[in-house]
Symmetry: none
Subunit: 139 residues, 4 copies
DNA sequence: GTGGTCTAGACCACG
DNA sequence: GTGGTCTAGACCACA
């Protein structure tokens, strides 16, 4: 599968962190399988018109985390699962964001049902082609 | 109503921004009415053991935004709505966070129903006492 | 074009505000084009012998206003017009000052023609080299 | 003649200063004659819903300046001219404001004729009933 | 009492 | 290199 990253240069979240977190999620969700190769630092940098050092920093963090492994002369690839002792599940990764959203909803005086239906809209927008595919395990 | 702020000193989001965003939401949600007076810079700084300038920075930004107005010699108060060009609704303020969450859910390979039920849990945790009176949950 | 600021340290108008207002006017007047880079915080602070935080405060306000945008690792630049909700015209920015002056003239019992000729003098003093090329008066 | 003040509580210029400067101008322009009595501190404060201390501060400054004199048991009145050695003329008082406006016009890239016609508009708005009354001497 | 401004200096995050 | 954040402390302006 071809690795893909959504990079938003103007975002408040730093670029290297966008890369790190997106890859974490894709691995946790099974979109990336062990052995999948990543685009080279230079290629990714060129593609998104960002600094190669930024890409390199992201890759290094992911390698230190055990999610990526460096293959001499070839590039980076998704590491085998055994290298990662603590593989977070998709729900573990999503929960902090949702907790923050729930807290905001409370401060905004919204009730739960309003917030839920708003989230349902956003989910539809984000997954236009989803049917009832239970492809990934919900921990 | 007595103004209240949840300050998390170690958070990645800067303190002054926590204040700014919480007050934005409280105003949008109607928890703060125009004319409500805010705690003084010094009081809020003492209460949370932070530097007065940090509080002052938050207040100044909110004043520049038109959400607060300075009453010289008295303090700051929530500004009348007419001073604000665009009064965002609670829904408008929550949507970006939920969109981000939906995007993450997609990257994690979670389906919509899983994400929704996870969010429902978070909402219950955030609003422990909500029943059919969403107006003023007494802490 | 090289960005330039006239800073008067002893003025009743605070330094950070001098920067903010001058840049607002230069942008409104087209002296600054979108994409133009600003002097770095440290450089401007050194040049005028003021504290970097003072410059930073001005830049931050202008960014919050949508007039400037941060380019991480590079510096600040004049933002594209679309980032600004309302781009005030030079006339709109000058009118409040002139209204104030007219009000003062009235209180002083001066008639319109006297006030106008006085203003004409001031304009000549302020624009010594203006002829029929209002576009780029070379200093 | 009945003394009148335009007080704008939300203005950036402090209230006491609004009073001081308006009276300076009215005296310089001859709108106030020596002997004219001022409203009492309490009356002015009540009328504009401001703090009596603010009015008092303004009156004290004007007394120190020699523009007002305190009449025991009666109140303040415009002082005789002989108490003021340096009576500024109307044009002297207006020029700083116009110089500032001219400077702003330059920064805005406006040419002199545009600025002048804009000022002419403002003058008309400020003096709706003026004909060709040369009542006050232009120094 | 209120907030505002500025300074000096430290430390961090980003590219 | 860039800007951001926070602190500590001083001094001022306003009501």
């Amino acid at each position: 599968m071809q690795m893909h990253f959504d990079i938003v240069p103007g975002s408040p979240v730093p670029i290297y962190r966008q890369i790190v977190e997106q890859l974490r999620r894709q691995v946790a969700g099974g979109q990336c399988q062990p052995g999948d190769e990543l685009p080279s630092v230079r290629a990714l940098a060129l593609q998104h018109a960002i600094n190669p050092m930024t890409v390199s920093k992201a890759y290094s963090l992911l390698e230190a985390e055990g999610l990526l492994e460096r293959r001499r002369g070839v590039g980076m690839a998704v590491a085998a699962t055994r290298h990662r002792t603590d593989a977070p599940t998709p729900t573990q990764l999503l929960r902090p964001t949702l907790r923050e959203a729930a807290q905001q909803a409370r401060e905004l005086g919204l009730d739960a049902s309003t917030a839920l239906s708003l989230f349902a809209q956003c989910l539809q927008d984000a997954m236009p082609d989803e049917r009832q595919d239970p492809g990934s395990p919900s921990a």
